[in-house]
Amino acid sequence: MAEHGAYLDPIDAKPLGSKAKGAALFWIAIGVVGLLAAFIFSFATEGSVFSKHMQFAYLAGFAFVLSIVLGALIFLILTHLFRAGWAVVVRRPVEAIANAMPLMLILFLPLVGLVLSGSGELYPWAVSAHHWEDQLEAGGGHAAASDVKIVTVADTVEDSHGEVAAGDHGEHYYPPEMMIAKRPYLNPIFFVIRWVVFFLLWIMAAKFYWRNSTKQDDGGDHTLTNKMEGWAPINTLVFALTITFASFDLLMSLDPVWFSTMFGVYYFTGAFLGAVCLTIIVIMIAKKLGVLISVNKEHMHDLGKLLFAFVFFWGYIAFSQYMLIWYGNLPEETAWYEIHGWTQVPDKVSGWSYVGLILLAGQLLIPFAGLLSRHVKRNMAVLFCWAVFLMVIHYVDVWWIIMPMFDSHNVTLGVMEIGCAVGMFGLLLGVTLLNFAKHSPVPVKDPRLHDSLGFHNI
């Protein structure tokens, strides 16, 4: 290929060092203040630092930032898998995000404590086995199971004649037989074992790519590239399995009765979307700090294409998940959508219904139309605005999945939710910038650097 005049600016070969410290500390401060505010507010209003409301808000924030870091990790693995030449100059920010994985482990510890405490406030299955056996003996079995209501969109017409009003028993009712049957998988000890394995694999993968890529900066050893590419296929498989089961554990098991085999992919699409958004944000911050001038609108165009692709892929997966459940019309599956307000049954429509509609518009229809044009993708300022917008919408997505399990009647968005989300995002961005500042902003000795510098979209 003929890349004319493609050379690396010396600015991009020097680590940011202390120049990034101000921005990094600013974001870490925001993170600490946000989290503290959330905990203090929880104590002030609910009388406990880690109240039930706070647990859900914390989980929403954690699932949001974890998805971004996981998305960055798979983004990294995929660029090596495909030997992507264009992505070399934007790879360091992605590596810096993925390398924040140990932070995720620290943020995850409160959730481990919660699951092991056996309170069952956050995860209904995280109680001792006796809980369900006692309930079964007390006659909470078959009789009550028939009270679980089935409502679908199609039933609206028939049901509006009065059956809906009758017998509004627990939407959070879980048949004890089923909970005992699911116990071998959904129990606190196995949960902790699984997550130890997940984090071990994720941190190992993130560190592997970070270490080898930065090691190459010094010596320029091309075999390191072969090594990173050689491990990419296995890492892809490992990642696919771990993110699927992680999403089952973290989000799907909030409602232990519900199941959707597509849920892992659903979480992955949002994760990748969030990772591309944060990559664009970090690139723009780095540009503001005076580095990453090698990243031009050709690279932004490609990041924009990924953003567009995953906006649509998210919509495709979200709809596929919904349509199968809607058509199948199984009560234990449709109940999830009812709790989340995705229904037309008049007295089941809640604030969450409107959040669902905001998601449909905000994460699919509006960005699809907005990102369609290549002129948008090639304009850095406009693309940055879309990245920030989609970042917020991605949180709304996670929040909409989690919070209705806490309160399915009212939309809860207060200091705890915003504090946790902004706080953890601030910590992630701060740690990312600290990682980023340690090494040269561009992998200077990558064998495909020249391809990337001279990259052109036709």
Binding site: A2, V153, M323
Partner: protein
């Protein structure tokens, strides 16, 4: 056209048939890029560059405007969307009297499928989506063919012996007689001045 062709055949008696243009051979990419910019600035518009590999930035150097293909795809995609919505609703749940044919009634199939309403948007979306994608893809592929005047089964360029190296190690600038700026002698002189190592006639 016929006048030009007649003149050409007088000037070069060996040439049999009609001259459709001239072609200049280049052996260096940078020279070619500079030549392309000069040709663009001189106002040529019926000319092209032939190269063994893609040259980045050649589009700008040649002054090629961006394609209208995306708009064709958008329009066809939206047509597919409308067709999908129309098809599903019309065939499934239509129910009206036709004013033009008194006494007849248009009624949709109205199948009851697992108890869903006749107009169930979630069930229609796959049909609507696929039609949108189908028409967009057709527009993209066939639009590209039409805009590029493909398939082109015959091109007099291949009658130039030298042109075989366009797939190997030489670059060519071909100018058609139809170009308003074209003049047999001046254009040849221009190509030589721009660095062409040889200039040939393209004879149909």
């Amino acid at each position: 056209m016929s006048e030009v062709a007649a003149n050409e055949s007088k000037e070069s008696p060996e040439a049999k048939g009609r001259v459709v243009g001239i072609i200049g051979e280049f052996d260096d990419v940078d020279v070619l890029m500079r030549a392309a910019k000069q040709m663009r600035d001189k106002g040529f518009n019926r000319w092209d560059i032939y190269s063994p590999f893609p040259i980045h930035g050649i589009d700008d150097a040649m002054g090629i405007k961006s394609t209208i293909l995306p708009w064709i795809v958008l329009i066809c995609g939206l047509s597919g969307l409308m067709a999908g919505i129309g098809l599903t609703i019309f065939s499934m749940s239509t129910d009206f009297y036709t004013p033009l044919m008194p006494g007849t009634e248009v009624v949709g199939y109205k199948f009851i499928i697992s108890g869903k309403p006749f107009n169930s948007l979630p069930a229609w979306i796959p049909v609507i989506f696929e039609l949108t994608i189908l028409l967009s893809a057709f527009a993209a592929v066939f639009g590209m063919f039409i805009l590029n005047k493909l398939p082109m089964l015959y091109n007099p360029l291949f009658k130039v012996d030298r042109f075989i190296r366009a797939t190997d190690d030489r670059f060519f600038i071909g100018v058609e007689c139809k170009d308003k700026q074209y003049d047999r002698k001046e254009t040849e002189a221009l190509l030589k001045k721009l660095g062409a190592t040889a200039v040939d006639e393209i004879v149909d």
